[in-house]
Symmetry: C2
Subunit: 359 residues, 2 copies
Amino acid sequence: MKVTAVIMAGGRGERFWPKSRNSLPKQFLCLTADGETMLQKTVKRLSPLVATEDIFIVTNAAYTGLVTEQLPDLPRENILAEPMARNTAPCIGLAAAVIRKKYDDAVMLVLPSDHLIQYEEMYTDTLTQAIAMAEAGDNLVTIGITPTYPETGYGYIRFMRDGDKKIPHGVYQVECFVEKPDLETAKDYLKSRKYLWNSGMFVWKLSTILKNFEALMPDIFNGLGAITDAFGTPQFDAVLQEKFASFPSESIDFGIMEKAENIYTLPASFGWDDVGSWLALERINPTNECGNVVSGDVITIGTEKSIICGGSRLIAAVGVSDLIVVDTDDAILLCAKDSTQDVKKVLENLRICNRRELI
Amino acid sequence: MKVTAVIMAGGRGERFWPKSRNSLPKQFLCLTADGETMLQKTVKRLSPLVATEDIFIVTNAAYTGLVTEQLPDLPRENILAEPMARNTAPCIGLAAAVIRKKYDDAVMLVLPSDHLIQYEEMYTDTLTQAIAMAEAGDNLVTIGITPTYPETGYGYIRFMRDGDKKIPHGVYQVECFVEKPDLETAKDYLKSRKYLWNSGMFVWKLSTILKNFEALMPDIFNGLGAITDAFGTPQFDAVLQEKFASFPSESIDFGIMEKAENIYTLPASFGWDDVGSWLALERINPTNECGNVVSGDVITIGTEKSIICGGSRLIAAVGVSDLIVVDTDDAILLCAKDSTQDVKKVLENLRICNRRELI
């Protein structure tokens, strides 16, 4: 069966300020030494599995220009612009409505645009197995990540292995999805060995997800029909605008995954990283002999365990440690490694002072 | 007797990089909130004692433009350009040679251009007393600073109080000058209560210093005659070039003060600060409630005891402490407070890489 991919690229992360701005969110940034943006890497990593013309990017209308710029080989009609942010369920619904116009049925890989994968061959193998599982029936397959520490910032998947021999090796039934836990609960999850991180990667057939929309989110399902009919016609923008505005703002996890049947998970071991803050640069980039991750025009003297992203001018760091430095033309961030969660306070401050040009 | 002032402004400090450059040394920088440069403050502070037309600036030929710019009211002929750096003895000799053309005799205040004084009235009182002591005879008067800690970066003056009733109250005889001590010696000096810091401020009569040049540095003395004769004539530059090149590169301390008779010191308590590194900004500027000294467009979140000099862009500091940040258009310095002495290593690195535009 035809395999398509839906990459969700509408997010507006603030944790990579000052490089990320409202006009340039994380998925459009290059955070690795290879010069590729997160979105470009996400698309490139799909090449063994999906043909370029079957990759669809769902993004905010404001970002279609960036997507076109960063993915010149992608057919323009594969860039789907959400008229407004409505969380993941309407986003995935829109993609399903458009793919339905192209194929009677197909496998849909639903993927975030701003995560990193360290072992791409394993990623291909895992998705291949997920695709098989999705094709085998009306299954909703999610990629689970084996937890390595009690993270409180992710949702978790509770999985189970029942005696059902029909389930292939390496695939587990999902008992339930749970929201972001507090630290104690997260520690219990880790100890229990019964939970995986919810990576937000999903695999299913077009027909399967549409059935689930029909059964669990009928308001959206009904709107999708009109969107499919209008796709490729002059009325498309107006119809999309009207229907999308009427959709509830809901996540696919809450709207469908937590209520549906036949939910399966594949525990992945392909070196997943959600690149959640500047600290991730240490995990995804090589560090030098002083434990520094350095890019740009930088001189370090007695400086260690620091992350320094140079801009257009020289950065000289003398005797500092555990510091994050990010330089841009109009703003520079200096942040202690243990304070990355407070970067958002800088943005709050900028909002209060109405300094939009810096946000 | 006429009182003149000679301000030595030829230095090329590197400790205020990146704000200070070869083309803009410390004395031409504004390091306080009042918007005045070190040189401008030095001149302003003299107004109760010396008429503007009697203030002479000796500087490097490369800096005469900066001096003219920063001191528009100063007569152009009072800016004396050293053809090359030759330490303080030739510098003071040049000033004496020029002043001699103007006055048969006069009191000379010899002052650095890059120190700060906190209590300017006391400064005026102390210099007034020093002027009286200089006028009273062929005395060489130096301003000593009562040490507050065992500084190893300054020269010291060993003073004594003998029974000689002719010495006015508050004036002490100098037993000897000593070079920069090691820490242990500095601690002993501090404990002994017999030493003062050598501030590099001197007061004497023109006739007195010329007698001393004649007796102790005859090579320089002989050259000065030709310089005096040439001053104001078309031959001046050529004569100065030739004579100055022939002068030994020697400090006034070593060349005259350590060998002369009738050396006196006035211990000053006027809040002297040599502004030796970025750390001085904490002493000479008000700190906010978090103990930060901040200038420019700066947002601090959970940041304390830091010195942040903003430039043309926003600086956001999150969770940092004891950090020095200095932003300029082409370079930004991040330096731990306990590593200011290593800033020069950045300049060494720039020299090795032949990046003159940044030095």
